[in-house]
């Protein structure tokens, strides 16, 4: 795994439908300055900048990283952009961490963003080309059949999705940065919302958000304050069209989890991981990923959700921050998962802090559930 790497600063913008008051440059700078402030540093202290960003078609700004160098104090420094679809925020953190682990740099700023209000992600994800049938509308249109297949295979009752939709939004009420704040949300409210892509209801989907997230990563000698230590990092990908590919529980996700657990010495994720921030953009993905990530046996994930184990006061809290279901600046969503995991083990998660969290998982996935990025962070040095 190389040299030790620590998270010494985290910065987030408040996630919201429309940030009319800032440009993309202003948005990323806001998150970056907060991360630097948390770390007690300035841009001068940073050796390299890694930017994460989902498809350029979301804002229609091609290669935005080139224009963001000024806003991120990257002049005269190495800067690169990462893109692995929805998992990009996670991959960005991992590329940044690899620069520390490889001994290349002492302090790396990682930033990811999306300003969804500049266009429409469903449009951008449905650029139907000639010669093929135009049948998939947006991410929901793609994922709905795989959720249906999960329900069939596992025999999960239909209300499981609504439980996650409520649980994550209740957690969001405790997170000052969360986008969706729905006081009084309950199962009935979720059930009363229309089916967009059956079996996915409106309130079982993530919002469209503007926002940015940043972290300062440091080597052991440059670590200051209350660091979160990186105990394992892993990325995996697989082709979207492959005979026999399991679209419900992709092999790449299982392999990625096995790799990161091996590095962090985790044999029983449900017992050994105190809190998990997992990319759940549609509520049904909680039980699906509970199984894919080994927190529950195959077909049993929904039982864990139903039992309340994944609630903030459960024995294995998932998405204490409110998760992607409550805030979704797509390119940043993965990085937020990784940053929230770090905040938890640093004891700095505020009202949604899981008491005594020492080990946390950050997870992101993207494309047609074909790109995966994960890290395990801990309070102690690995």
């Amino acid at each position: 795994m190389g040299n030790r790497c620590a998270v010494i600063g985290v910065g987030q913008t408040h996630y919201t439908t429309k940030r009319r008051d800032v440009s993309i440059a202003g948005l990323v700078r806001e998150a970056a300055l907060r991360a630097l402030e948390d770390a007690g540093l300035t841009f001068k202290d940073i050796d390299a900048v890694v930017i994460g960003k989902a498809p350029d078609l979301f804002e229609g700004v091609m290669m935005p990283e080139a224009y963001l160098a000024d806003a991120l104090g990257a002049a005269g420094k190495p800067m690169m952009r990462v893109h692995t679809a929805g998992s990009v925020g996670g991959s960005t953190a991992l590329v940044g961490a690899s620069l520390i682990q490889g001994g290349v740099h002492e302090r790396v700023l990682v930033v990811a963003f999306e300003k969804q209000s500049e266009s429409n992600a469903t449009w951008a994800l449905s650029t139907h080309l000639p010669f093929s049938a135009s049948l998939v509308v947006g991410a929901g249109g793609y994922f709905a059949p795989h959720i249906r297949e999960y329900m069939r295979r596992s025999g999960a009752p239909g209300h499981i999705g609504t439980l996650v939709a409520v649980k994550d939004r209740l957690n969001a009420l405790k997170n000052p940065y969360a986008h969706l704040k729905i006081p009084g949300i309950d199962q009935k409210m979720v059930e009363s919302t229309p089916m967009l892509w059956e079996p996915i209801r409106y309130l079982e989907t993530c919002p469209s958000s503007d926002g940015a997230c940043a972290m300062v990563l440091a080597s052991e000698s440059a670590a200051t304050g209350t660091p979160a230590w990186v105990h394992g990092t892993a990325m995996r990908s697989e082709p979207i069209f492959r005979a026999g590919r399991d679209t419900v529980s992709p092999q790449a996700g299982k392999d990625c989890a096995a790799d990161v657990y091996r590095q962090a010495g985790i044999a029983d994720p449900r017992r050994q991981i105190d809190v998990a921030e997992v990319y759940v953009p549609f509520s049904w993905y909680e039980p699906m990923w509970l199984e894919n990530l080994g927190f529950a046996a195959e077909g049993e994930g929904w039982k864990l959700t139903e039992s309340g184990a994944t609630a903030l006061d459960g024995d294995t809290p998932w998405n204490a921050s409110g998760g992607v279901l409550s805030s979704n600046p797509i390119g940043a969503s993965g990085l937020i998962r990784f940053a929230e995991a770090a905040l938890q083990v640093r004891g700095m998660a505020g009202e949604h802090q899981v008491d005594g969290a020492r080990t946390a998982l950050g997870h992101a996935y993207g494309g047609g559930a074909q790109f995966f990025a994960m890290w395990i962070v801990g309070r102690e040095k690995p």
């Binding site: 139907h128 080309l129 000639p130 010669f131 093929s132 059956e198 996915i200 492959r242 005979a243």
Partner: protein, 299 residues
């Protein structure tokens, strides 16, 4: 309307219009306007009046000779919405009369503010002057004020010429004839449809082309209720169909059955457009429709 002999129209208008001698203070203000600058005048007490006054209303003393450039932007202090503009109004769209505190001024200027709707306005909103094409030295040299520019629209359009090549060309030529062509990997023995040139599993080339039947089984599906101009009318069912003999499902539209009667495991067959309408595109397949055979049990 019946004419009443005791009712008559009457116009009172001084031919050519009255003159207004501006005096030095107002004259300076209007001259500056003609040069597309807005100035106020300073009083002995140091306040900046915009528009200028000749005599300080607080003390009755003449104002000083000091002119101060203000604005051009300002802040709305209060406003009234005009939903139905009259002929003499400066704008023919609904607008607001507003008191505007220009930057650097200590008094408010009354002017028109253009806005899409009253919701776009608020006390504290920033507004900027929009100048008339040909200034003459009149308050209407400022056509109106408008909210600060906070966004622009950037039209992005890329036009491509897409040329179908390789495997897709062969597949679509098959579709034009009314058959689905697939290919088999000799190493992993998987059958891919649409036809491919390389196996995504092992990377081998797929030399063996085979014709697949147009019948299959629905493995899973979504009922789409979100309208999109490029997709079929909602609700439509998009389904993964495993063609008989294939190892990877194809996505297709389901028809001839109400959306909520579609099932996983349902047997379906392609419904082709009439031969005279066939082209080398997927539009050749209208949809897949249930065959009526018993459902297949999925593992």
């Amino acid at each position: 309307m019946p004419s009443d002999p005791l009712v008559a129209q009457h116009v009172l208008e001084f031919p050519g219009g009255y003159t207004r001698t501006t005096g030095p203070v107002i004259g300076r203000f209007l001259s500056e306007l003609r040069a597309r600058r807005i100035v106020g005048v300073r009083t002995a007490e140091g306040r900046v009046h915009v528009p200028p006054l000749e005599y300080d209303p607080a003390t009755g003393e003449p104002v000083t000779g000091e002119y101060v450039e203000v604005g051009p932007a300002g802040t709305i202090t209060t406003w009234a919405w005009v939903a139905e503009p009259l002929d003499a109004h400066p704008l023919d769209q609904p607008f607001a009369w507003a008191l505007i505190r220009l930057d650097g001024a200590d008094s408010d200027l009354l002017h028109a503010v253009a806005a899409e709707n009253p919701k776009a306005l608020a006390a504290g909103a920033r507004v900027w002057p929009v100048w008339r094409d040909r200034p003459t030295g009149h308050i209407t040299d400022i056509s109106h004020f408008a909210p600060e520019v906070t966004k622009i629209v950037s039209e992005v359009r890329a036009e491509y010429r897409l040329q179908v090549g390789g495997a897709l060309r062969v597949f679509l030529e098959g579709v034009e004839r009314g058959v689905f062509l697939g290919s088999r990997c000799e190493q992993c023995e998987k059958v891919y449809v649409p036809l491919r040139l390389a196996c995504p599993e092992c990377g081998n080339t797929l030399p063996e082309t085979l014709e697949l039947p147009d019948t299959g089984t629905i493995t899973t599906f979504a009922i789409n209720n979100l309208p999109d101009p490029r997709a079929p009318e909602v609700p439509f069912v998009s389904a993964y169909i495993l063609l008989d003999g294939a190892d990877i499902p194809m996505i297709a539209l389901i028809g001839d059955v109400p959306a909520h009667e579609v099932r996983q495991g349902m047997r379906v067959k392609a419904v082709w457009v009439p031969e005279s309408e066939r082209t080398a595109t997927m539009a050749n397949i209208r949809w897949f429709a249930p065959t009526g055979e018993p459902d297949v049990e999925l593992t």
